[in-house]
């Protein structure tokens, strides 16, 4: 089996890791950096990812996409509240939101694919061979559509996603491999955009998730936003400027707020400085002020913790260890609240930024058959049900059921001769269908015409080890497999994903072409500069014929340079080089002569 890497596709940063000599390690980039900022920017020179894209945030706000994980597997209704805050343009489509970049629209999985592709290349450079399979982590509380979107992103990036693993569970694997976890473990994972709590029983190499809960829209980004709102008000009071509709200024404030927030995890006070065009904003901030701003957000993580404990039938004092994962758990306030709830000091012995990627690498190694004594038993975070009469949900698979799992349900017809049955599948904990997340509408087709109530269609709902639903249908009286047409409520269809995979090759090629064109143009410019300088310095050295040839070649290159044909530019560049060759030779000779002459003079002087 080929090499499988583990990838943490984070809201803020992403990482790739693998197991080497029994130890999971993060694969750094050429500069030794482990974290790749999950930011993608469309620049005139092509698409850039990571640090280079981060530098575009405040310059090229409308074309720089960050925190796209929050949009993965989401419909317009889910995200409309936060759209006004995003500096890039999100197209309001019900099924899959997409982002408009110039005349192109990209979906969140395509944006994520750019990040994944860089990680893939990083791993390939490290191993010196192609990497085509990966384990990718997602927040434990991600629903079916969000998981599917992550899998789609992998495919678009040219990766076969062998497993989607829950982030807190992955973290527990990293701890478990190092024998740092045993007993009842609570993993509190607060990242850039999502929050998860998972309770596990770790015993004899078995990692059994007992319960999980969370919020896929709560993280460091929200803390930053709380600070941004506060800073905007302060700037308006003190400088009489309203920056709330200026995307570039907003990004400057956001970056400043984020940096100040991080410093306040270690320092009691910090000074925030943001240079704007007309003035420089200074603000002294204390940790207490930050805590007052984000206090309610941190407090809102405690409800899910209590619910997870209740679902696991455990009291807080029965938890043996509390592990902290995710950059936001560096905040002292978060640590205090967690400690109060579990009555136990939480720890993060493994780097909270890296532990999830390391765990993904462990899972990859398990799938590759390299680790055989560890067994992971995860759960589905949300109840799965179908809509019944009156819009009530009938639960088929309760939340926190160990996966894989399956449920069978029987359906019949209500009208004579009816040949199709419609099913509406939902995920969530509420009683009414409309309060839950619609997963898909299934059309059961090919039921033989029979009197109403006669057909008996058995539908098997199976949640696989990735937490993703698969459905099969069979008519029991005829034994005939009924066909199911799944219309996902949110998310891309198979055809759309295939199109994107194709596009990605095409665009990848276009991106490479764009870069090559720029390189050729730069080279042409360099040659033109040299020739112009040579003509200024040594024009009279050229014969009339040579001069005419040079001028003609120069003119032709200028025309070609204005176009986009790389071949034409290259040919004209070569022609210009050839036309100037005799002059260049003569200049070289003269220079040598000159050097010799001056040397003689030097010698004469020395000897005098």
């Amino acid at each position: 089996m080929s090499r499988i890497v583990g990838i943490d596709l984070g809201t803020t940063n992403s990482l790739v890791a693998h197991v080497e000599g029994g130890i999971p390690r993060v694969i750094p980039d050429a500069e030794g950096r482990a974290l790749l900022p999950s930011i993608v920017a469309w620049t005139p020179d092509g698409v850039v990812v990571g640090e280079a894209a981060r530098r575009q945030l405040a310059r090229n706000a409308a074309r720089t996409v960050y925190s796209v994980k929050r949009l993965m597997g989401r419909g317009y209704e889910d995200v409309k509240d936060e759209l006004p805050r995003l500096p890039f343009h999100v197209v309001p489509q019900a099924e899959v939101v997409s982002i408009r970049i110039g005349d192109r629209e990209v979906t969140p999985p395509e944006v994520s694919a750019y990040v994944l592709r860089v990680l893939k290349q990083r791993a390939e450079a490290h191993f010196g061979e192609p990497v085509e399979q990966a384990v990718i982590t997602v927040p434990a509380y991600f629903n079916d559509a969000q998981r599917q979107a992550t899998k789609d992103a992998g495919r678009i990036a040219g990766l076969e996603v062998l497993r989607i693993v829950n982030e807190p569970t992955a973290a527990s694997l990293a701890y478990g491999l190092q024998k740092l976890a045993e007993g009842i473990i609570a993993v509190y994972d607060l990242g850039g955009g999502t929050f998860d709590i998972s309770i596990l029983r770790v015993k004899d190499g078995v990692f059994e998730v007992l319960a999980t809960n969370g919020n896929t829209h709560l993280g460091g980004d929200d803390f930053d936003q709380a600070m941004v709102d506060w800073l905007l008000a302060d700037i308006e009071t003190r400088h009489r400027v309203d920056f709330s509709t200026d995307p570039e200024a907003l990004q400057e404030i956001r970056l400043g707020a984020e940096a100040a927030k991080c410093r306040l995890s270690f320092d009691e006070r910090t000074v925030l400085t943001i240079p704007f065009e007309r003035f420089t904003y200074h603000r002294d901030i204390g940790r207490a002020e930050l805590e007052a701003l984000v206090g309610p957000l941190v407090a809102s993580t405690l409800g899910p913790c209590r619910r997870a404990l209740a679902d696991a039938s455990l009291r807080p004092d029965q938890v043996d260890q509390v592990v902290l994962v995710g950059g936001s758990t560096r905040m002292p306030l978060v640590r205090r609240r967690v400690e109060e709830l579990f009555e136990r000091t939480p720890h993060s012995r493994i780097n909270p930024d890296e532990v999830v990627a390391l765990g993904a690498a462990v899972q990859a190694q398990i799938l590759a058959g390299g680790i055989t004594d560890m067994l992971l038993l995860d759960v589905t975070p949300l109840s799965l049900g179908i809509e019944t009469l009156g819009g009530i949900v009938s639960v088929l698979i309760p939340r926190n059921t160990t996966i894989p799992t399956l449920a069978k349900e029987y359906f019949t017809t209500s009208v004579d001769g009816q040949t199709t049955v419609d099913l509406h599948v939902l995920q969530g904990e509420r009683e009414l269908a409309r309060d839950n997340r619609s997963l898909a509408r299934f059309d059961l087709a090919g039921v033989d015409p029979m009197p109403a109530g006669m057909p008996k269609v058995e539908v098997t709902f199976l949640i696989d080890a990735n937490g993703i639903l698969q459905a099969q249908a069979r008519e029991l009286r005829t034994g005939k497999a009924a066909s199911i047409e799944v219309k996902p409520t949110y998310g891309l269809t198979e055809t759309q994903v295939e199109q994107m995979v194709e596009d990605s090759f095409r665009y990848a090629e276009a991106d490479v072409n764009a870069r090559l064109l720029i390189e050729t143009q730069t080279e042409a410019d360099t040659v033109v500069n040299h020739v112009e300088r040579a003509l200024r310095q040594a024009g009279p050295m050229a014969t009339a014929a040579e001069r005419a040839a040079i001028d003609r070649a120069l003119a032709e290159l200028r025309v070609a340079r204005a176009g986009t044909s790389r071949d034409a530019i290259r040919e004209c560049t070569i022609a210009l080089n050839q036309a100037t060759a005799p002059l260049a030779d003569r200049m070289m000779e003269a220079a040598i002569k000159d050097a010799v002459t001056s040397k003689r003079a030097d010698q004469l002087l020395e000897n005098s």
């Binding site: 058959g369 996966i403 894989p404």
Partner: protein
């Protein structure tokens, strides 16, 4: 589909050694979990997926003493069990009067605008019902041994089966009313009793 007791090679009895069950669950999982069949062909992988799903469901039904009773009853009656079904159970006759009174309390509290005192009354009702909800479970589980003895002796289990069914229905009804109380209080999300769980 084989029944859950068969999956774990257990007799159809209500007394189960929890630790042994867990050990066996881990063993079976190591055997069937898809993680260990990644390199296999598609058919074997599909088989592992189904087997693993069956093991997981069986463990879930057997590990909890009350879920065991529910499963066994379904098995005895030869019907498919579905966990967590939300079809509202009908009020057992002897509870009708009492439950009507609870509904009245809810309506009154709502009419009063669910102020501090009214809300407190509802919380009190809920606490009382939660205690009875727990007591029902204990009462049911307490007779598990009796069932197993009847199985061993080949005695008539019909009466006990009927009694189990009634107690389970009563308990399910308490659950519904507790949920109604939580809904009225606007606390359904934070409800401290695990939602839809045994």
């Amino acid at each position: 589909m084989s029944d859950y007791f068969t999956v774990f090679e257990l007799p159809r009895k209500l007394t189960v050694d929890g630790e042994a069950l867990q050990r066996r669950f881990y063993e079976l999982s190591r055997q069937h979990h898809p993680d260990f069949h990644q390199g296999a062909d598609a058919a074997r992988q599909a088989e592992a997926l189904t087997q693993s799903a069956l093991v997981n469901r069986a463990y879930r039904a057997l590990r909890d003493p009350l879920a065991r009773v529910e499963y066994l009853i379904a098995l005895e009656e030869g019907r498919e069990v579905r966990e967590g079904a939300t079809d509202k159970p009908k009020a057992p006759r002897e509870l009708l009067q009492e439950m009507l009174e609870v509904q009245e309390t809810i309506e009154e509290a709502k009419a009063e605008g669910l102020g501090g005192e009214a809300a407190e009354r509802l919380r009190g009702e809920r606490r009382r019902l939660e205690e009875r909800y727990a007591a029902e479970a204990e009462a049911i589980v307490a007779r598990s041994g009796e069932w197993d003895r009847l199985v061993d002796e080949g005695g008539d289990r019909k009466a006990l089966l009927e009694w189990f069914k009634q107690r389970l229905a009563t308990r399910a009804y308490f659950r519904t009313v507790i949920d109604d109380l939580s809904d009225a209080l606007g606390e359904s999300e934070e409800s401290h009793v695990p939602h839809r769980r045994h």
